[in-house]
Point group: C2
Chain length 160, copies 2
Protein backbone atom coordinates (compact mmCIF):
# COMPACT_ATOMS: atom_id res chain seq x y z
CA UNK A 1 0.00 0.00 0.00
CA UNK A 2 1.43 3.37 -1.02
CA UNK A 3 -0.17 5.14 1.89
CA UNK A 4 -3.38 6.65 3.18
CA UNK A 5 -4.84 9.40 5.29
CA UNK A 6 -7.37 8.33 7.93
CA UNK A 7 -9.26 11.46 8.98
CA UNK A 8 -10.40 11.85 12.57
CA UNK A 9 -14.16 12.06 13.16
CA UNK A 10 -16.09 13.15 16.23
CA UNK A 11 -16.10 9.62 17.68
CA UNK A 12 -13.10 7.99 16.08
CA UNK A 13 -11.66 7.69 12.57
CA UNK A 14 -13.31 7.57 9.17
CA UNK A 15 -13.91 4.00 8.03
CA UNK A 16 -12.60 2.52 11.29
CA UNK A 17 -15.10 0.35 13.11
CA UNK A 18 -15.51 0.89 16.86
CA UNK A 19 -15.14 -2.53 18.44
CA UNK A 20 -15.22 -3.99 21.93
CA UNK A 21 -11.93 -4.70 23.69
CA UNK A 22 -11.74 -8.13 22.11
CA UNK A 23 -14.06 -10.18 19.87
CA UNK A 24 -16.05 -12.63 21.95
CA UNK A 25 -15.23 -10.95 25.26
CA UNK A 26 -17.81 -9.57 27.64
CA UNK A 27 -18.28 -5.76 27.67
CA UNK A 28 -15.62 -4.32 29.97
CA UNK A 29 -16.14 -0.64 29.15
CA UNK A 30 -13.30 -0.54 26.64
CA UNK A 31 -13.52 0.52 22.99
CA UNK A 32 -10.99 -0.53 20.40
CA UNK A 33 -10.31 1.33 17.14
CA UNK A 34 -7.82 -0.42 14.85
CA UNK A 35 -6.66 2.59 12.82
CA UNK A 36 -3.81 1.11 10.74
CA UNK A 37 -2.77 -2.49 10.12
CA UNK A 38 -3.67 -5.73 11.81
CA UNK A 39 -2.11 -8.81 13.31
CA UNK A 40 0.14 -10.83 10.98
CA UNK A 41 1.34 -14.39 11.34
CA UNK A 42 4.73 -13.71 9.75
CA UNK A 43 6.66 -10.56 8.83
CA UNK A 44 6.52 -11.43 5.11
CA UNK A 45 2.72 -11.32 4.95
CA UNK A 46 1.22 -8.37 3.06
CA UNK A 47 0.13 -5.31 4.97
CA UNK A 48 1.69 -2.75 7.30
CA UNK A 49 4.51 -3.98 9.53
CA UNK A 50 3.02 -2.33 12.60
CA UNK A 51 -0.43 -1.76 14.00
CA UNK A 52 -1.84 1.43 15.46
CA UNK A 53 -4.82 1.08 17.76
CA UNK A 54 -6.76 3.50 19.93
CA UNK A 55 -8.36 2.30 23.16
CA UNK A 56 -10.92 4.30 25.09
CA UNK A 57 -11.81 3.29 28.66
CA UNK A 58 -14.95 4.41 30.43
CA UNK A 59 -14.64 5.74 34.01
CA UNK A 60 -13.67 2.83 36.27
CA UNK A 61 -12.58 0.65 33.36
CA UNK A 62 -9.15 -0.91 32.87
CA UNK A 63 -7.16 -2.71 30.23
CA UNK A 64 -6.20 -6.33 30.86
CA UNK A 65 -3.39 -6.86 33.38
CA UNK A 66 -1.01 -8.89 31.23
CA UNK A 67 2.46 -9.32 29.76
CA UNK A 68 3.94 -10.39 26.41
CA UNK A 69 7.16 -10.38 24.42
CA UNK A 70 6.10 -7.51 22.16
CA UNK A 71 6.53 -3.90 23.20
CA UNK A 72 3.87 -1.25 23.70
CA UNK A 73 4.28 2.39 22.75
CA UNK A 74 1.42 4.40 24.23
CA UNK A 75 0.43 8.05 23.78
CA UNK A 76 -2.41 9.39 25.92
CA UNK A 77 -4.97 11.24 23.78
CA UNK A 78 -7.57 12.28 26.36
CA UNK A 79 -8.61 11.92 29.98
CA UNK A 80 -6.80 10.83 33.11
CA UNK A 81 -5.37 7.42 33.85
CA UNK A 82 -2.98 5.30 35.80
CA UNK A 83 -0.20 3.34 34.13
CA UNK A 84 0.92 0.23 35.98
CA UNK A 85 4.24 -0.87 34.46
CA UNK A 86 5.97 -3.64 36.37
CA UNK A 87 5.70 -2.63 40.03
CA UNK A 88 5.49 1.10 39.27
CA UNK A 89 2.28 3.06 39.13
CA UNK A 90 2.12 6.55 37.58
CA UNK A 91 -0.66 9.08 37.11
CA UNK A 92 -0.88 9.88 33.41
CA UNK A 93 -2.74 12.39 31.29
CA UNK A 94 -2.87 13.90 27.78
CA UNK A 95 0.33 13.65 25.70
CA UNK A 96 2.19 11.52 28.24
CA UNK A 97 4.06 8.68 26.54
CA UNK A 98 4.52 5.20 28.02
CA UNK A 99 6.94 2.53 26.84
CA UNK A 100 6.29 -1.05 28.02
CA UNK A 101 9.21 -3.41 27.45
CA UNK A 102 9.13 -7.15 26.73
CA UNK A 103 7.48 -9.40 29.34
CA UNK A 104 6.72 -6.50 31.68
CA UNK A 105 3.32 -6.79 33.37
CA UNK A 106 1.20 -3.72 32.70
CA UNK A 107 -2.27 -2.23 32.94
CA UNK A 108 -3.91 1.07 32.04
CA UNK A 109 -6.80 2.32 34.18
CA UNK A 110 -9.16 5.28 33.98
CA UNK A 111 -8.79 7.43 37.10
CA UNK A 112 -11.15 10.22 36.00
CA UNK A 113 -14.81 10.99 35.35
CA UNK A 114 -14.42 11.24 31.58
CA UNK A 115 -13.36 8.64 29.02
CA UNK A 116 -9.62 7.93 29.10
CA UNK A 117 -8.18 7.25 25.65
CA UNK A 118 -4.76 6.29 24.36
CA UNK A 119 -3.01 5.26 21.18
CA UNK A 120 -1.08 2.00 21.35
CA UNK A 121 1.52 0.97 18.75
CA UNK A 122 2.58 -2.66 18.40
CA UNK A 123 4.35 -4.89 15.94
CA UNK A 124 1.88 -6.47 13.49
CA UNK A 125 3.68 -9.77 13.97
CA UNK A 126 3.57 -10.32 17.72
CA UNK A 127 3.05 -12.92 20.43
CA UNK A 128 -0.22 -13.34 22.35
CA UNK A 129 -0.86 -11.94 25.79
CA UNK A 130 0.12 -14.03 28.80
CA UNK A 131 -1.72 -14.16 32.08
CA UNK A 132 0.38 -13.01 35.05
CA UNK A 133 1.97 -15.87 36.98
CA UNK A 134 1.49 -16.40 40.73
CA UNK A 135 4.94 -14.86 41.15
CA UNK A 136 3.90 -11.78 39.14
CA UNK A 137 0.80 -11.41 41.31
CA UNK A 138 2.82 -11.78 44.53
CA UNK A 139 5.24 -9.09 43.37
CA UNK A 140 2.32 -6.83 42.46
CA UNK A 141 0.66 -7.41 45.86
CA UNK A 142 3.87 -6.33 47.64
CA UNK A 143 4.28 -3.15 45.56
CA UNK A 144 2.77 0.37 45.61
CA UNK A 145 0.90 -0.55 42.43
CA UNK A 146 -1.25 -2.98 44.48
CA UNK A 147 -3.45 -0.06 45.59
CA UNK A 148 -4.30 0.78 41.98
CA UNK A 149 -4.03 -2.32 39.79
CA UNK A 150 -7.08 -4.51 39.12
CA UNK A 151 -5.43 -7.73 37.94
CA UNK A 152 -8.75 -9.54 37.45
CA UNK A 153 -10.75 -6.67 35.89
CA UNK A 154 -10.61 -8.18 32.40
CA UNK A 155 -10.87 -11.94 31.98
CA UNK A 156 -8.29 -13.75 29.81
CA UNK A 157 -9.12 -13.83 26.08
CA UNK A 158 -11.60 -16.57 25.24
CA UNK A 159 -10.39 -17.03 21.68
CA UNK A 160 -7.52 -15.85 19.53
CA UNK B 1 14.22 -1.97 29.74
CA UNK B 2 11.11 -2.88 31.74
CA UNK B 3 9.34 0.29 30.76
CA UNK B 4 9.00 3.97 31.51
CA UNK B 5 6.60 6.86 31.60
CA UNK B 6 7.70 10.02 29.79
CA UNK B 7 5.51 12.86 31.09
CA UNK B 8 4.47 15.66 28.75
CA UNK B 9 5.69 19.16 29.61
CA UNK B 10 4.57 22.52 28.28
CA UNK B 11 7.04 22.43 25.41
CA UNK B 12 7.69 18.74 24.93
CA UNK B 13 8.50 15.75 27.15
CA UNK B 14 10.44 15.47 30.38
CA UNK B 15 14.08 14.59 29.76
CA UNK B 16 13.69 14.72 25.97
CA UNK B 17 15.97 17.23 24.27
CA UNK B 18 14.45 19.50 21.64
CA UNK B 19 16.66 19.16 18.58
CA UNK B 20 16.75 20.57 15.07
CA UNK B 21 15.37 18.50 12.21
CA UNK B 22 18.69 16.75 11.75
CA UNK B 23 22.14 17.15 13.32
CA UNK B 24 24.37 19.28 11.10
CA UNK B 25 21.50 20.57 8.98
CA UNK B 26 20.64 24.26 8.60
CA UNK B 27 17.63 25.52 10.58
CA UNK B 28 14.53 24.74 8.53
CA UNK B 29 11.92 25.64 11.16
CA UNK B 30 11.46 22.05 12.29
CA UNK B 31 11.87 20.71 15.84
CA UNK B 32 12.55 17.06 16.59
CA UNK B 33 11.78 15.35 19.91
CA UNK B 34 12.97 11.74 20.10
CA UNK B 35 10.61 10.47 22.81
CA UNK B 36 11.34 6.72 22.84
CA UNK B 37 14.13 4.70 21.25
CA UNK B 38 16.69 5.52 18.62
CA UNK B 39 18.12 4.21 15.38
CA UNK B 40 19.65 0.72 15.55
CA UNK B 41 22.03 -0.96 13.12
CA UNK B 42 20.54 -4.42 13.63
CA UNK B 43 17.36 -5.75 15.27
CA UNK B 44 19.39 -7.65 17.89
CA UNK B 45 20.99 -4.49 19.35
CA UNK B 46 19.75 -3.47 22.81
CA UNK B 47 16.99 -0.90 23.12
CA UNK B 48 13.41 -0.50 21.94
CA UNK B 49 12.54 -2.08 18.61
CA UNK B 50 10.74 1.01 17.43
CA UNK B 51 11.24 4.75 17.70
CA UNK B 52 8.65 7.40 18.51
CA UNK B 53 9.46 10.95 17.48
CA UNK B 54 7.52 14.21 17.52
CA UNK B 55 8.14 16.86 14.87
CA UNK B 56 6.90 20.42 15.10
CA UNK B 57 6.93 22.65 12.04
CA UNK B 58 6.73 26.44 12.18
CA UNK B 59 4.30 28.21 9.82
CA UNK B 60 5.58 27.82 6.27
CA UNK B 61 7.93 24.98 7.21
CA UNK B 62 7.95 21.48 5.70
CA UNK B 63 9.51 18.10 6.31
CA UNK B 64 11.94 16.74 3.73
CA UNK B 65 10.36 15.47 0.50
CA UNK B 66 11.77 11.95 0.47
CA UNK B 67 11.15 8.22 0.32
CA UNK B 68 12.53 5.10 2.01
CA UNK B 69 11.82 1.40 2.56
CA UNK B 70 10.61 1.88 6.14
CA UNK B 71 7.04 2.88 6.91
CA UNK B 72 5.77 5.98 8.67
CA UNK B 73 2.84 6.02 11.08
CA UNK B 74 1.87 9.62 11.79
CA UNK B 75 -0.64 11.11 14.23
CA UNK B 76 -1.28 14.85 14.10
CA UNK B 77 -1.04 16.40 17.57
CA UNK B 78 -1.68 20.07 16.85
CA UNK B 79 -2.15 22.61 14.08
CA UNK B 80 -3.01 22.36 10.42
CA UNK B 81 -0.99 20.71 7.71
CA UNK B 82 -0.86 19.14 4.30
CA UNK B 83 0.17 15.53 3.79
CA UNK B 84 1.71 14.76 0.40
CA UNK B 85 1.73 10.97 0.02
CA UNK B 86 2.70 9.78 -3.45
CA UNK B 87 0.76 12.01 -5.84
CA UNK B 88 -2.05 12.69 -3.35
CA UNK B 89 -2.30 15.80 -1.22
CA UNK B 90 -4.67 16.00 1.76
CA UNK B 91 -5.46 18.69 4.30
CA UNK B 92 -4.81 17.29 7.76
CA UNK B 93 -5.45 18.41 11.32
CA UNK B 94 -5.50 17.18 14.92
CA UNK B 95 -5.94 13.40 15.43
CA UNK B 96 -5.78 12.57 11.74
CA UNK B 97 -3.62 9.51 11.10
CA UNK B 98 -1.36 9.03 8.07
CA UNK B 99 0.26 5.79 6.94
CA UNK B 100 3.15 6.07 4.46
CA UNK B 101 4.09 2.78 2.81
CA UNK B 102 7.50 1.63 1.62
CA UNK B 103 9.24 3.76 -1.04
CA UNK B 104 6.35 6.21 -1.28
CA UNK B 105 7.47 9.82 -1.68
CA UNK B 106 6.00 12.01 1.05
CA UNK B 107 6.13 15.40 2.73
CA UNK B 108 4.34 17.12 5.60
CA UNK B 109 3.80 20.89 5.42
CA UNK B 110 2.38 23.47 7.81
CA UNK B 111 -0.65 25.17 6.19
CA UNK B 112 -1.61 27.28 9.22
CA UNK B 113 -0.51 30.25 11.32
CA UNK B 114 0.38 28.15 14.39
CA UNK B 115 2.96 25.39 14.85
CA UNK B 116 1.95 22.11 13.21
CA UNK B 117 3.06 19.07 15.18
CA UNK B 118 2.84 15.35 14.63
CA UNK B 119 4.04 12.09 16.14
CA UNK B 120 5.93 9.81 13.76
CA UNK B 121 6.50 6.19 14.55
CA UNK B 122 9.22 4.17 12.74
CA UNK B 123 11.19 0.96 13.05
CA UNK B 124 14.41 1.48 15.07
CA UNK B 125 16.26 -0.59 12.47
CA UNK B 126 15.51 1.20 9.22
CA UNK B 127 17.03 2.36 5.94
CA UNK B 128 18.12 5.93 5.26
CA UNK B 129 16.09 8.49 3.35
CA UNK B 130 16.42 8.62 -0.43
CA UNK B 131 16.24 11.74 -2.54
CA UNK B 132 13.39 11.67 -5.08
CA UNK B 133 14.49 10.60 -8.56
CA UNK B 134 13.90 12.69 -11.68
CA UNK B 135 11.00 10.35 -12.43
CA UNK B 136 9.51 10.95 -8.95
CA UNK B 137 9.80 14.73 -9.51
CA UNK B 138 8.19 14.50 -12.97
CA UNK B 139 5.26 12.52 -11.51
CA UNK B 140 4.92 15.06 -8.72
CA UNK B 141 4.97 17.98 -11.21
CA UNK B 142 2.12 16.39 -13.20
CA UNK B 143 -0.05 15.78 -10.11
CA UNK B 144 -2.39 17.90 -7.95
CA UNK B 145 0.23 17.71 -5.20
CA UNK B 146 2.51 19.95 -7.32
CA UNK B 147 0.61 23.03 -6.09
CA UNK B 148 1.46 22.20 -2.47
CA UNK B 149 4.69 20.18 -2.27
CA UNK B 150 8.05 21.91 -1.80
CA UNK B 151 10.44 19.20 -2.94
CA UNK B 152 13.54 21.34 -2.32
CA UNK B 153 12.49 22.95 0.99
CA UNK B 154 14.85 20.79 3.03
CA UNK B 155 18.29 19.91 1.65
CA UNK B 156 19.42 16.27 1.66
CA UNK B 157 21.05 15.14 4.93
CA UNK B 158 24.70 16.17 5.13
CA UNK B 159 25.72 13.32 7.42
CA UNK B 160 24.20 10.15 8.79
Amino acid sequence: MAGKVIPATERGWQGVEIEGYRPGSPDVGVERHTIVGGRKGAPGEPGPGMELRYFELQPGAASRYEKHEHEHYVIVKRGLGHAVVGEQVTEIGPNDVIYVGPLTTHQFLNRGDEPFGFYCFVDACRDFSQQPTEEDLARLAASPAAAIAKPFAVPPPTRR
